[in-house]
Symmetry: C2
Subunit: 194 residues, 2 copies
Amino acid sequence: MDNKENILECALHLFFKRGYDTVGVQEIAEVSGITKPTLYYYFKSKNGLLKSLIEKKGSILLRDIKEAVSGMEVGDVQGKLLHLARAYIDFGVKEEEFYFFMLSLMYSPRENEAYLTIIPLIREQYYLVTKVFEQAAGSLGNMNGRQEQFAAGFLGTLHCFMMVQSEKGIEMQTIRNDATAYAIVHQFLHGIYS
Amino acid sequence: MDNKENILECALHLFFKRGYDTVGVQEIAEVSGITKPTLYYYFKSKNGLLKSLIEKKGSILLRDIKEAVSGMEVGDVQGKLLHLARAYIDFGVKEEEFYFFMLSLMYSPRENEAYLTIIPLIREQYYLVTKVFEQAAGSLGNMNGRQEQFAAGFLGTLHCFMMVQSEKGIEMQTIRNDATAYAIVHQFLHGIYS
DNA sequence: TTCTTATTATACCAATCGGTATATAATATG
DNA sequence: CATATTATATACCGATTGGTATAATAAGAA
């Protein structure tokens, strides 16, 4: 792992633990075993470092999502949601620190700098998930513009499940299976009564 | 409104907009029209101010929640969830800034100071909601310890709905009705198929 | 009036914030 | 070899961070 990569990973670890705003550039440099000017040479600014981190991990997530929802009949909502759930779970397991750091930024105040930086990644995810529900208008009846509400609800359910698992202290690896994905999708589609 | 109250409201407004970590004590004092020593006289520290704020608003939320889930047959899950949803929506409307600030703290990194400060309030909420599902073990069948998962799922759905409404830029006031609460509870209980 | 307690302001603290000017190695290219 | 580019360190910048020592003011109680 080269120098730049190492700085990104060290920064992510600190952001994940204490948050973007409370971690100083100085500390990132110390943990990375470099000095501040080296960091600024690579990333121009603290926000540039964050952008670089989001770009690096976000592109992986978006690629996985696109792969999950493609190559199926457009009407198969349940199938697509299953693939989607698996993609998110897998990503949350292999990129646990970024996943939860992304979640923390999603819920950050609207005018917070870090929030503004992650908006594009969030928007893109919502766009892709909303499309799934739009293509499902046939099997789900007239949605009357509720596609976005459904997309938000589905992702909310998913994120919520990951949070609960993480808080339980269970090894995330154990939820990496189709049964878990099915449980989440089923609850979203049919509720807890069933 | 006395001096102390005014400082709390000004601080909340700033925290809501940019986050606890990025707002300095100096700025809070300036916006409040007082000086730093005055703030420290009242709250001892920046974290003391946050504690005071959480205590003030949190006690209202907890009171509303307790009121919502009490005084009904223990088995009436749907009824209790409806009351619960109404309580959260009402609180989210009348204390919009605190509600979303609380959300942002809920998803903050585990070792973040502000997160550690709000933990007790979050735990108490989860405890109260989990109890609803525990009492419903009869009508919902054996839950096998899924009460907490249900509580988290329900609150997640609720918060998610509020976020979407807020992002749409719609006046929060318009969702303060029983139909909205019913829609949320119904989706949670029976899924989006129905 | 005098004493006590509750407020408020001036002025300061060391430490840290994000960021940079400058110089020097190291490496690649001609 | 010489030149250009990449990569790294020393030392510093002004501004802000959370927090405080000290003193003055205001107000209520004796």
